[in-house]
């Protein structure tokens, strides 16, 4: 499976960043091989629309799931429409730990009531 994780640094030892749209790094990880590609989040400082831009990036990279601490309503809408699942990391952990939890089905999926 290919997942994208919001991160504070550019490798698997970095911590998961709690904020999907405003994190400094995205790590695209193949959960089987643990091959990891790091990308700077170009939208981190955007005045607005960071969520939609990052969600669009996730779709362009054709990930199966997003792993993060918090995903806002606009990003959620884009990811949901694109068929990408969102898994929430409940507390501070490294990217590597989060991926292990994901593989063991220990992470909860995010559901949001959109008005």
């Amino acid at each position: 499976m290919k997942v994208v994780v919001s991160a504070t640094g550019d490798n698997l030892s970095a911590h998961v960043d709690r904020r999907f749209g405003r994190c400094p790094w995205f790590l695209f990880v193949d959960t089987e091989s643990l091959k990891c590609e790091a990308a700077v989040n170009e939208s981190a400082d955007a005045a607005s629309g960071a969520g939609t831009a990052c969600a669009q990036l996730a779709l362009e990279k054709e990930v199966d799931a997003v792993i993060s601490g918090q995903v806002g309503p606009n990003a959620y809408e884009v990811l949901k429409q694109g068929g990408v699942k969102i898994f929430i990391v409940p507390q501070d952990s490294s990217v590597r730990e989060a991926i292990d939890k994901y593989k063991n089905n220990e992470l909860k999926q995010m559901e949001m009531k959109v008005f």
């Binding site: 607005s48 629309g49 831009a53 669009q56 884009v78 694109g82």
Partner: protein
């Protein structure tokens, strides 16, 4: 002459000064550009005779013509339009109405439609021609409505623009183009901090300014010192007086409740005129 009234810090007395200045000024137009929370009408009590709905242009995609090429999403500066595998998603609250997406669409699949953001009300209060904008609750962007309110300015009569607190986009939109800006402040650290930001903003816009210090006899002397150092004229000072707050709370303009201020308010106009003509 068009005078804008701003402050930086909120709650310093912009509307108090702006409304009483208008009442002492005779034939004048008053534009309340604090469209998120207009309150001048509470004091001027205008009779409203015109109500105009205001909208901004937003894209509407014709899915039968759209080939999902994604050019609209590429050109959108605000990430308001997103193209995914099978459809185009649009986020109206992020859209600034620039028209870029409909312009760039190679299939002509996007047309611009109006999305209502608020209303403009016009009326009269004695000699005052009154205009204000009311932004719909939940709307994130004030400047497009402020821009429309200002389109109603009549350049052949004097005018007062009441801005919102702060120093960012809505205030810039309100004060831009005015001949002079009156900054209402208070002699406190917060007052001074935000006054400096307001002055910086006005300097970038090259709008001359002067200061009114409200509650001038309490607090410290730093605002006065700053104005002297920066060569910013202090045009009026108002002492702290419970009666002013009481009148305000009842929707009574300063000039009606405390007529002793009539002189200094009329003089204020003269001082601004001399500074503007300098």
């Amino acid at each position: 002459m068009i005078i804008s009234v701003a402050s930086g810090k909120g709650g310093t007395g912009k509307t108090t000064i702006a409304t009483s200045l208008a009442l002492s000024w005779g034939e004048v137009q008053f534009l309340d550009c604090d469209v998120e929370e207009p309150n001048a009408h509470i004091f001027l009590k205008p009779h409203i005779n015109e109500r105009i709905s205001v909208g901004i242009p937003v894209p509407e995609v014709d899915e039968s013509k759209c080939n999902l090429c994604g050019k609209c999403a590429e050109v959108c500066e605000f990430n308001a339009i997103v193209v995914i595998k099978k459809k185009v998603l649009f986020f109206p609250e992020l859209c600034h109405g620039c028209g870029g997406c409909s312009y760039i669409c190679p299939e002509n699949a996007i047309k611009e439609v109006d999305r209502a953001i608020g209303v403009i009300e016009k009326g009269r209060s004695g000699k005052i021609r009154f205009i204000h904008g009311i932004l719909n609750v939940g709307e994130p962007m004030a400047p497009p409505l402020i821009r429309q309110v200002k389109k109603h300015i009549n350049n052949s009569i004097n005018g007062i623009i009441d801005a919102s607190p702060g120093t960012s986009c809505p205030v810039v939109e309100a004060v831009n183009g005015s001949d002079f800006c009156l900054l209402v402040t208070e002699p406190t650290p917060f007052g001074l901090n935000d006054l400096k930001l307001a002055v910086e903003m006005l300097r970038k816009l090259t709008i001359p300014c002067g200061v009114v210090i409200n509650c001038a006899d309490i607090g410290d002397e730093e605002v006065e010192r700053y104005c002297k150092d920066e060569d910013i004229p202090i045009l009026m000072t108002i002492p702290w007086d419970r009666r002013i707050a009481e009148a305000y709370s009842k929707g009574i303009p300063l000039i009606d409740a405390l007529p002793e201020f009539q002189n200094s308010l009329s003089q204020l106009y003269g001082k601004i005129e001399r500074l503007y003509k300098r």
